[in-house]
Each structure stands twice: as structure tokens, then as C-alpha cells.
């Protein structure tokens, strides 16, 4: 076996993404030099992706506990208790780089991967979300990437029969060479049927099931190295291709196996495939593991131990069974026409051992791959937040700006996307894409889960701490706006190169902000994922710590939606409006500048306002709510009008700065609409609670009218709002931002 005897040169070490100090540490831990297979195993286990070596010390500061948290970070996904013996299991993960190389397959396998993380814990996936960031619309690659990513997400999720119910999409030039594809999966399980990955005990069979192993996704640089040239052509690394059909069978078969009590531990094979799943299971179980690679179901001939251990072929799982239960399990996988093999056994040696063709090809203490992995406190530089209020033309006509904003790439309707996703399969979707949060019923009950993903990267860039906190606050606000009690979040931290102090400063700041907001809002972090090194030509992306939030509605009959519902409802604004335009969509789209301070955040006010609004919805007194975010007050009114197919006449006496009033992005605000009598009570109660409140006008008609003077037809706004995406994607229009 050439791969065992190969001399490991500094070049080979570097190709494996390891620095000399790390290689030295491997030698020390092993008490000898590693062979090629072992080097490969270390390289993936010690990679940023698997070891979180740059972020771990900071992630530890996040709040992860609450009475309803069953499982925080550390497993495949987080778990919360939603009452009546039901558990909600969810997680978000990135597939940024693969989606840039091959948008369809990259996005599809991203969806498949996150679903496996959720069903490997015993949950049936019930909803999918996706948070996407692309380069500017005028960039030649953008349309191709949007098209491929969206059809890849749909292609995989639709086949799985899990509704894709929401997400977010931004365009910005910093993503030109580095798009972001973050997918989130939410599943349901019973609290007494949650499966973990700790492979406890010795002598238990380790079983492999799902699809066969091929040479998919093995680290390009390492594969290019010289020692693999004997059967060259066949051995090139290949892009991972998703097989949603196999995944659907894998889901059903896994849940069927879980209905027995044969499983000790189970884990999907995600990044770093067989290596990380087996090593992590042994590590968490405090045991050892021995694998016989000859038993691994293989798709291609002449696969080496290195390839099998590092392959990222999709739709595969690893489980540890109770002894003697192999046949029972095998029967299930036969029924579903999936591969099944016993490929190893747990031991009490605390070693990770792999055999191939009669030889030991890797023998490593398990802790060397986990606890002993390097952790770095990388130097970071916290820059002063961007500040100041940029000047803008205060006399610019408001409604013309509104029309332009409604058709801006970041604001236009995403219907073109969501209509390609099956968002109603499973028959429990109560709020489809297009509202504040998606709402999915807990099958057969009155309960429902609200789900959202949020972050405003331009704020994070301006001020990482406030921006990180704002992402959490906005997620919390979106859940609140439908009437849900926000319960927990999963994060997906997308940043540039952490070895640059400035980028590390963004990471540290964002985590600090996320932690502060989660603490203030009682909204613990139960899982997450980091995607670093998102850079092209040395330019990092806008820092994008995406937050996936989940909340619970106890009775979905008491739920709010954004559309206006009745003529003559009073439109009420909750929260303080100062007209903050720094870093706003208005400033960027209308004035063409990305400047100033991001809006400040008052977490105490945020909580107070949200709790007030949610209380009204829960009491059955309020059914029309929209939170304010990108684009501010007037955009929110327009969205409520378009959704409800009903206009409104709004205004206020003596507005000093109309632009700031209508388009400022002050935080902690909600718009409500309620019939007159109820509205009067709501306003009085808000005043009594010292919550800033204002009556803005009445619903009705087929236009937005400001201060009884200027108006714009909903038809015009709708054409602007609905038109941009289809025109852009059909190639009719490649807008250039002014």
C-alpha cells in the first residue's frame, strides 16, 4: 500500500491544510509520524469545519440553556421541548463553496445534509428554510447561480416531500465570488424518542446504511498529490451529486429502524464522512471503534482506505446497534432497497482503528482527533463601529421612492423562488412564504411552529456587535409578529478569513452581540455552524451571521398574518420612530450610498414591545401584524396592503423629515391593524405601559395615500414588487444599481 509507506513531505502536509506546528502535534500525539491515511484523517478532523478551531473559544460564551432546551449545541441538531411529549429538532448549515462550484448539486446536497442531521436524531423533517446571498444582479454569474441554487433546493426538498416554507435572499457585490447557501431543517420527534451519537459500550456492531461510497468530494488538493496516480483518471475527486430518492428511502428506513429499540447511537455521514461520524461517535461514547473498510459498500473499484475514510458521498448513515440486532435492521434496509453492512465494532481501547485488506491503515487515539484538536485564540481587532448620519435629500418625493424600493433586488417579491418549492406538502403549512415567519402546524394538534431566518449583513459590517444582536432581535420579532413565543435559535456564521484580525474582530463582535440579544430575549442558541474563509481575491464577504429562529403557537387559531383584512381598520405603529437612515435600504437604493451607523438596538424595549404585541395575538384580539425591518414604515405598509389586496390612508401631522419617518429603519417596531373599538383599547393599553404608540390611519381603498394628499395605486406597487424577479431571471433586465 503506497499510501501507508509514502514519505510525508512538508508539501503534502500543507496540501492537507495543516500548518507545521499542527503536524508536529500529530507526531507527538501518535508518538510517531502518521501515515498518509492517518494524515488524511487528522486533516479533516482538525479542519476548521469539523474542529471549530478559530471560533470555539468564542462560541462557548453563547447562552445555550433554558427550561425547554433538551439538547443544546454538541449533537447533530438542537432539541427543544414543545409540550405534550413533543420535541422540535432543528439546525441550519451552509453549503456555500459547493454551491458556487456547482449551484444545483451544491444546494441540493446542502438540503440533503441538513435533513440528515435532523432525522438522525429521530425527527421527521416538517419544514425547510433557506438563507441565500448572491452577488450583484448585474454580475454575469449571478443569474446562473440563483437559478441553479433555487432549482437545486427545490429539486431535493420537493422530492423529499418536506415543505420549503421560507428563507431570505440578498444581493450584494461582496458575494460576487462567494455566494452563501444556508439551509435549515426543522423536524418533530417525541421527547422520549431522541437519538444521540454517543457510541457507548464495547462489542457493539457498527453498521453502515444508505448509498454506496464513491470518490465524491474528497479534498481536491490532497487528491492531486502524486501518490495516487496508479489508476489516475478514475481517481479524480468529484463533485457530490445528490440523490433525493435515496434520501427519502433513507429517511423512512431510518425512522422505521428507530421505532425498534435496536439503536445505541446513530449519526449521519456529513462532512468528512466515515471518519468524522465514527470518530465523533466513539469520542462522545467514551469508547473506541474499529472499522473494516473492506466491508464498506463501494460504488467504484480500487478505492483506497484514504478515499473511503474521506469520501463525502451523500445519503449515508452510521449506527451502533445493540449486539444481535443486525438481522432485524438489515431486513428494514432490504425492504427499502438500501445498502446495509456491518463494518465494524465498538471497543474499550479508546482508539480509532481502520483496517483495509488485512492491514491496519490507521490507529489513532480517539481524543487526538477531538479534545486534542488545536484550538486557537486568534488575534482580533475590533474596529470602531461606523458612525454618523449621512446627508440625504429630504425633499425627495416619498411615493416615487417607495415604488423604486418595492422593486429593488433586496426588496422585490421572492415569489419567483418560492413557487418553485413545494411549500404545502404535508398539509400543515399555515403560513406560506411571504409573511413574517413561516408557520407549520404540529400534525394533528392545535399547536404550530413558527420559523424564520434573519440577518442584515450591512448592519453587521457597520457594527458587528449591534449587527449580531439585531439579527437575533429581528428573528425574535418575526416569530412574535405571527403570535409565536420565540424558543430557540440555530446560527450559521458566514465570515471571511479568521486569520485576518479584522475579520476575526467581526466574528468575535457578532458572537458577542448574538449572545447579548439571546440572553436578553431568553432565546438560547441550541446549535449552529460556522463557514469561514468566504473570500475572493482577498476580499471578504459582508459578515453574515444568519440566525434561524423557532417559536411556538399554542393555538394556531390565534395567529396573526401581515395582510390587511377589513376596511376601516385602524393602522397602529408600536415602537419609537426616530428616522434612522444610516445603513438603510433607502440610503443604498435611492441615494446610492452604504454609509453611516446601523440603527441602535434597545433590547429591553424590543422585549417589551414584542411581549405586548404577542399578548394581544394570544388573547385573540389581534390578527394583523407586521414587524418593521428593511425599508422601514412605508415599505411595511405597502407589503400589508399588497398581501391583503387593500390599500390604506396613512399619515401624521407635522412630520419634520418625511424621508426619515417613512423609510428609517429604527428597531423594535411593529405595525398592527385592528377594528376601531379594539384599536382604541390597544392604543390606551400601550400608552399605559409606556410603549410608544401612534395611530397612522385607516385601511381601505386600492391605493396607499399619504396625509390625504399623494397616493399611489396598489396596481402600480404590485407591478413593481412582483415584476423585478421574473424580469431579472428571464434576462429581460439586468439592473445596475445607481
Amino acid at each position: 500500500m503506497t499510501e501507508i509507506s509514502t514519505d510525508i513531505t512538508p508539501a503534502i502536509v500543507a496540501e492537507h491544510g495543516l500548518i507545521p506546528e499542527e503536524y508536529q502535534r500529530i507526531n507527538t500525539l501518535l508518538g510517531r509520524a502518521p501515515n498518509m491515511v492517518e494524515l488524511g484523517v487528522f486533516s479533516v478532523m482538525w479542519s476548521e469545519h469539523c474542529s471549530y478551531k478559530s471560533t470555539r473559544v468564542h462560541l462557548k460564551t453563547l447562552p445555550t440553556k433554558a427550561a425547554w432546551v433538551i439538547q443544546g449545541p454538541g449533537e447533530n441538531a438542537g432539541v427543544i421541548d414543545i409540550g405534550d411529549g413533543d420535541a422540535c429538532i432543528f439546525k441550519m448549515e451552509s453549503h456555500n463553496h459547493p454551491s458556487f462550484i456547482e449551484p444545483y448539486q451544491g444546494a441540493a446536497t446542502g438540503v440533503g445534509g441538513i435533513m440528515r442531521d435532523v432525522f438522525t436524531m429521530g425527527a421527521r423533517p416538517i419544514a425547510m428554510m433557506n438563507a441565500l446571498r448572491f452577488g450583484e444582479p448585474s454580475h454575469p454569474k449571478t443569474r446562473h447561480l440563483v437559478s441553479g441554487v433555487v432549482s437545486g433546493i427545490g429539486g431535493y426538498g420537493n422530492c423529499m416531500g418536506v415543505p420549503t416554507v421560507g428563507g431570505e435572499v440578498n444581493f450584494h457585490k461582496s458575494f460576487n465570488g462567494n455566494n452563501l447557501v444556508n439551509a435549515m431543517c426543522v423536524g418533530l420527534a417525541r421527547t422520549d424518542k431522541i437519538f444521540l451519537s454517543a457510541a457507548k459500550g464495547a462489542g457493539n456492531p457498527v453498521v453502515y446504511f444508505g448509498s454506496k461510497t464513491g470518490r465524491d468530494g474528497i479534498h481536491g488538493a490532497t487528491m492531486a498529490s502524486a501518490q495516487f496516480d496508479d489508476a489516475s483518471e478514475e481517481k479524480r475527486p468529484t463533485v457530490q451529486v445528490g440523490d433525493p430518492f435515496a434520501e427519502k428511502l433513507l429517511l423512512e428506513a431510518t425512522l422505521e429502524l428507530m421505532a425498534t429499540d435496536a439503536i445505541v447511537a446513530i449519526q449521519d455521514m456529513g462532512a468528512a464522512g466515515l471518519t468524522s461520524s465514527s470518530a465523533e461517535m466513539a469520542d462522545k461514547g467514551g469508547s473506541g471503534i474499529e472499522l473494516d473498510l473492506d466491508k464498506v459498500p463501494q460504488r467504484e473499484t480500487h478505492m483506497t482506505a484514504y478515499e473511503m475514510l474521506l469520501s463525502e458521498s451523500q445519503e449515508r448513515m452510521l449506527a451502533v446497534l445493540k449486539p444481535g440486532r443486525e438481522a432485524e435492521a438489515e431486513k428494514i434496509f432490504k425492504k427499502w432497497e438500501l445498502d446495509f453492512a456491518v463494518i465494524g465494532v465498538t471497543t474499550d481501547t479508546h482508539r480509532f482503528i481502520a483496517r483495509h485488506q488485512g492491514k491496519v491503515v490507521a490507529d489513532i487515539p480517539v481524543t487526538a482527533l477531538s479534545d486534542e484538536a488545536p484550538i486557537y485564540s486568534r488575534p482580533f481587532e475590533k474596529r470602531a463601529p461606523m458612525s454618523g448620519t449621512p446627508a440625504y435629500d429630504k425633499a425627495r418625493p416619498v411615493l416615487a421612492s417607495l415604488e423604486k424600493l418595492m422593486a429593488a433586488p433586496d426588496m422585490a417579491s421572492r415569489r419567483w423562488i418560492w413557487e418553485q418549492y413545494d411549500n404545502s406538502v404535508m398539509n400543515d403549512t399555515l403560513q406560506h412564504p411571504g409573511g413574517d415567519a413561516a408557520v407549520v402546524r404540529v400534525h394533528g394538534s392545535k399547536k404550530a411552529l413558527a420559523i424564520t431566518t434573519d440577518v442584515t449583513p450591512r448592519y453587521v459590517k457597520a457594527d458587528p456587535v449591534t449587527g449580531g444582536a439585531q439579527a437575533v432581535a429581528e428573528a425574535w420579532r418575526n416569530l412574535t409578529a405571527v403570535g409565536a413565543t420565540p424558543l430557540a435559535v440555530t446560527d450559521n456564521l458566514n465570515f471571511g478569513n479568521p486569520q485576518k484580525p479584522e475579520i476575526m474582530g467581526q466574528i468575535v463582535g457578532a458572537i458577542e452581540g448574538i449572545g447579548a440579544a439571546c440572553r436578553a430575549l431568553d432565546f438560547p442558541v441550541i446549535g449552529g455552524n460556522c463557514s469561514l474563509y468566504n473570500e475572493t481575491n482577498g476580499e471578504g464577504i459582508l459578515p453574515t451571521p444568519a440566525i434561524g429562529g423557532v417559536g411556538l403557537l399554542k393555538d394556531h387559531a390565534r395567529m396573526a398574518t401581515i395582510g390587511f383584512k377589513r376596511e376601516e381598520d385602524v393602522v397602529i405603529l408600536i415602537g419609537e420612530t426616530k428616522g434612522h437612515l444610516g445603513q438603510s435600504i433607502y440610503l443604498r437604493e435611492i441615494e446610492g450610498r452604504e454609509e453611516g451607523a446601523c440603527p441602535p438596538l434597545d433590547l429591553a424595549a424590543e422585549k417589551k414591545h414584542g411581549d405586548f404585541v404577542r399578548g394581544l395575538i394570544e388573547a385573540g384580539r389581534l390578527d394583523t401584524v407586521h414587524d418593521l425591518s428593511d425599508g422601514g414604515l412605508l415599505v411595511a405598509i405597502a407589503e400589508m396592503a399588497l398581501k391583503g389586496g387593500m390599500g390604506a390612508s396613512v399619515g401624521q401631522a407635522a412630520i419634520a423629515d418625511a424621508v426619515g419617518f417613512w423609510f428609517g429603519e429604527d428597531q423594535g417596531r411593529y405595525l398592527l391593524a385592528a377594528p376601531f373599538a379594539e384599536a382604541e383599547k390597544i392604543v390606551a393599553e400601550a400608552r399605559a405601559a409606556y410603549i410608544p404608540v401612534a395611530e397612522l390611519g385607516r385601511t381601505g381603498g386600492d391605493a396607499i395615500t399619504l396625509n390625504d394628499k399623494d397616493s399611489m395605486a396598489l396596481k402600480t406597487l404590485s407591478a413593481a414588487h412582483e415584476g423585478w424577479f421574473p424580469r431579472f431571471m428571464s434576462g429581460e433586465e439586468i439592473p445596475v444599481r445607481n
Partner: protein, 221 residues
Amino acid sequence: MKAAVIVFPASNCDRDAATALEAMTGKKTAMVWHQDNELPAGTDLVVLPGGFSYGDYLRCGAMANQSSIMAAIKAHAEKGGAVLGICNGFQVLTESGLLPGALMRNAGLKFICKPVALEVTETQSAFTRNYAAGQAVTFPVAHGEGNYVADDATLDRLEGEGRVMFRYQNNPNGSARDIAGILNEKRNVLGLMPHPERAVDPATGGSDGRAMFQGLIEALS
């Protein structure tokens, strides 16, 4: 009415169909595995559910049509038993020859999921008896290959014999003559692309689908 829902590998609206039927009939629905050879005794209605049987690989419905349960379904239809094919189920029915024509890629080449307005064009069947002729209903669609094609003679015949049961009001997929659902000659097998089982609850997809199941219950009980 005793209903059976067929489960093919990667069917994914099987539970939705069963849930809708159970809500309407108050009775348990039998779930029948594609490798079975027989339907449960006394089955009145067979539902071929939506989904991506065999991943929609090769052609939608092609591989499901090779399942062992199909012989029993054909025999059931032959005897006059009711068969309802929804979405992927409709594709299986055309592949099997139980219904004429074929379903091709949507004209816009994209998967489409949205509520669509339909006209109930014919009421002469157990499936549509509880609708009024010409009634407008809304069912969700969710498919990538719902573009119905058949030669002109077949289309003329379907229309002439009153076997076009549902038409799109705004054709979303390029279907010939706006066809959304058709009946077989004996009027006991219906295939349609829209999802009536997703329209039985006002909280989710509206309730226009209820009349279809109510009609079946009345006709088959």
C-alpha cells in the same frame, strides 16, 4: 367507503391523502405497499398519491407502473372500482395506460407550487357529482411535469365523451386544451395534477376538495 392509498418508494403525499380521507370518512385508510400483490378485501377506492415515486427518475411514474401492486389496481379498475390518481398518481395512470396521453415537463420548465383556479367541467362521475357544472374551485398544484399531451384524436374524444373533468382557468403548465384532470372511458378512474387532498382544510389549502371526497363517499358507500 373503504379506501386504500398506495405507497411507492418516494411517494410523499401518501400521508396527506390518508389524512384527508380519514377526516372525511372517519375511518382508517389502508396503506398498501407497492410490492403487495393484492388490495385489502372490500376496497372501494384506490388512491395513487402524489410524490416522486422512484425519484421521478427516467420518467415520472414509469417505474412505479412496474410495481407488483399495479396488476391488482388494473383488475380493480376493470371491475369498475374507483381509482383516483393525484399528481404523481396521474402520471402513473397514464404510464399504465389506464388513462390516455402523457404528462410532460411544464412548458415553463420549472416546478410550480401555488393555488390554481380550476373549472369543474363535468359532473358525471363519482368524483365530481357534488360539484356544479362549471363551478370554479381552487386546488393547489405542485409539480414539474404536469403538461398534459395527447394526439388530437384523443383530445377530441376526451372532450366529446365528457371526460375532461377539470380545466385550468390560467394554464400554468402548457397542458393541451387547459386540461387538469381526465376520466377513463368507464368513468371510474380519475387522474388530475392539482391536489384535492390539500384542499380539505380552510387553515391550509381551502376546502374546495371536500366535495370530491364527499361525492366518492356517497357514491361508493
